[in-house]
């Protein structure tokens, strides 16, 4: 095969399989990926331009009408606000706690493997089981949280955490934080162990305080870890669905609705599939927009 004049003298030139060989390897995964992810995503884009109810055989093309309706839907306004609060809190708090734990675990401490195991444990549990566990802890009558508050004399603070607008969203974020702290902790711990000790020694010689060392040695060295934590948390935070669905079902009222659950309710409860998929399209576009820099960096690294 006359493929010698190629710029990259990479791997053997597929003598046997010929130039179709790579595609034979790629095809099974690509077919599945296109059939069950790309194609459904594109057809959602189409459904979002119709008034389909999700059941009838027919529907009408309505252009961008569903999108224009979004801003005047009060639940969408609540959901966007909740999504934003959720994203900020469930990224910032786990990242900070994770970093603190990692720094503590990186110092002189006994029983590190056990401690690390404990802090990462919530991350492997099914979201639904985490929702069940915390729903049970929050139970107004028999829940451990109110019992604990009464035990330490703070009876006044005992309240139906998930049952009132003022606390419900925050109450759902607590288990999310519990679940999401383990990953940054592991990542930071690994990154901290990669910082050469000489850097600290040099800083000490130069008379840098611990605080200065943290800002001028530790933080800059953690930059790649910060980036991964932030990118993946951002992508993950935006997809929130399971926790809200399983803990509050969007309630009380619509106070804890997020775009993901509101989309679900529209499609599967209110038979407004067109409108619901328009919400899904919006979430997806935002998720792609925030994820693209990460995806691009991964692609570049691999080329």
């Amino acid at each position: 095969m006359a493929t010698i004049a190629l710029p990259k003298p990479q791997v053997a030139k597929g003598k046997r399989g010929g130039r179709w060989s790579p595609w034979l390897f790629a095809l099974p995964a690509l077919v599945v990926y296109v059939a069950f992810l790309v194609y459904p995503a594109l057809s959602s884009l189409f459904f979002s331009l119709t008034n389909w109810d999700g059941l009838s055989a027919t529907y009408k093309f309505v252009g961008l009408e569903n999108y224009f309706k979004l801003p005047s839907d009060p639940v969408v306004v609540t959901a966007v606000r909740n999504n934003l609060i959720w994203t900020v809190v469930t990224i910032a708090v786990p990242t900070v706690i994770g970093l603190l734990l990692a720094m503590a675990l990186n110092g002189k401490v006994h029983g590190k493997p056990i401690l690390r195991l404990v802090f990462y444990t919530p991350a492997v549990l099914p979201l639904v089981s985490i929702a069940s566990i915390w729903g049970w802890l929050y139970n107004p009558q028999y829940g451990a949280i109110n019992s604990f508050l009464k035990l330490i004399g703070l009876d006044g603070l005992a309240q139906p955490w998930l049952g009132q607008d003022s606390t419900a969203l925050w109450a759902v974020m607590v288990p999310a934080i519990w679940l999401r702290t383990g990953f940054p902790m592991l990542l930071y711990l690994a990154a901290l162990q990669g910082i050469p000790n000489e850097l600290y020694e040099a800083a000490t010689v130069d008379g840098a305080t611990k605080w200065q060392q943290f800002w001028h040695v530790t933080m800059p060295s953690l930059r790649p870890a910060h980036y991964i934590v932030l990118a993946l948390s951002l992508i993950d935070s935006f997809k929130v669905f399971d926790m809200i669905y399983a803990m509050t079902y969007g309630g009380p009222g619509t106070s804890t609705q997020v775009l993901g659950t509101w989309m679900y309710f529209n499609v599967f409860q209110y038979y407004q599939a067109g409108y619901g998929t328009a919400i899904a399209v919006v979430i997806t576009l935002v998720a792609i927009a925030v994820g693209i820099p990460y995806v691009r960096s991964q692609t570049k690294e691999a080329s």
Binding site: V11, F36, L37, W136, Y188, P224, F241, R296
Partner: protein, 298 residues
């Protein structure tokens, strides 16, 4: 499916060694820090600890003495009740069957694609790579309506077989990302040597690439199994009869039925999470190594 994507995987490494070389935890500050962390850890794990304590006591004892008391009596009957009413025999079988079918297939086809992207000369390689990695950012909701229609037309709703396609598709981006970066580290020379000896791409893939990448394959398979075991949204939408539900959907049902039986509910939740907890404890070396390998590169 939750997507945790390290940029690069090396052999799973124990990452617990103290960073300051040669410093052993001893006396003073080390002890204080250990105590502080131990208190935080107890607090952190207390929801699970309470769950265990509640699951092994009779309901009357729980209600009489409150959730924070030490049980006056111990019993296994909560587990028996929860197991029967929660239909766990069925949901366990379904979840296990699904993972057994989905995980090996997903890892194999992802490894094949990863191999093509990392080691074969392929046209549009970067475009394919970018499009596949982009899948990491796509939320499941965008696909549920069309997938539901597709499965209804194919008569595959309410069957765990209908979940395999969507689960594979949403698992591929992460698996390909990790595997191709691992394959890339395999030196081209040994592949070329094999080719000189007359080995084709398939033989190289099966007899060299896969065996050399075993640690990465195991890590990816474990993470994929956890994600599959925990997936909720597709299962919620596609499965409706009790006979076909997976653990997460079954657990949600169960939670509704046991709203007033705190001890039974605790036992049921434990039944649902114990296999994951055991697997995690035994396999944590692989999970931790896989998750963190990307953080240390410069």
């Amino acid at each position: 499916m939750s997507s945790i994507a390290p940029a690069r995987i090396d052999v799973p490494v124990e990452t617990v060694e103290a960073h300051p070389v040669g410093e052993k935890p001893k006396g003073g500050r080390g002890l204080v820090m250990t105590l502080v962390l131990a208190v935080v850890a107890i607090f952190w794990i207390s929801p699970l600890a309470l769950l265990v304590i509640t699951a092994v006591r009779p309901l009357s004892d729980f209600i009489g003495n409150g959730p924070l008391s030490w049980p006056a009596e111990f019993t296994w009957s909560n587990f028996k009740d929860a197991w029967g009413i929660g239909n766990f025999a069925t949901t366990y079988r379904n979840s296990a069957l699904l993972a057994l079918m989905k995980v090996p297939l997903g890892v194999l086809i992802s490894a094949m694609l990863g191999f093509a992207l990392a080691k074969l000369r392929m046209k549009f390689r970067r475009t394919v790579m970018f499009s596949v990695f982009l899948g990491l950012t796509i939320p499941i909701y965008i696909a549920i309506v069309p997938v539901f229609i597709m499965m209804r037309q194919a008569g595959a709703t309410d069957s765990i077989f209908g979940l395999i396609g969507p689960y594979l598709a949403f698992g591929i981006p992460f698996e390909v990302l990790v595997l191709q970066s691992f394959f890339r580290q395999i030196p081209d020379e040994i592949i070329e040597a094999a080719k000189v000896d007359g080995a084709g791409d398939w033989r190289v893939f099966f007899t060299m690439i896969l065996p050399l990448s075993l640690p990465a394959l195991v890590t990816v398979a474990i993470l994929d199994a956890v994600a599959t075991w925990n997936e909720f949204l597709f299962a919620l939408i596609l499965l409706n009869s009790d006979a076909h539900k997976t653990i997460p959907v079954g657990l949600l049902n169960f939670q509704g039925q046991f709203a007033n039986n705190n001890t039974g509910l605790a036992a049921g939740i434990l039944i649902a999470v114990v296999p994951i907890l055991i697997a995690y404890t035994l396999l944590q070396r692989w999970i931790v190594g896989g998750l963190t390998a990307g953080a240390t590169k410069g």
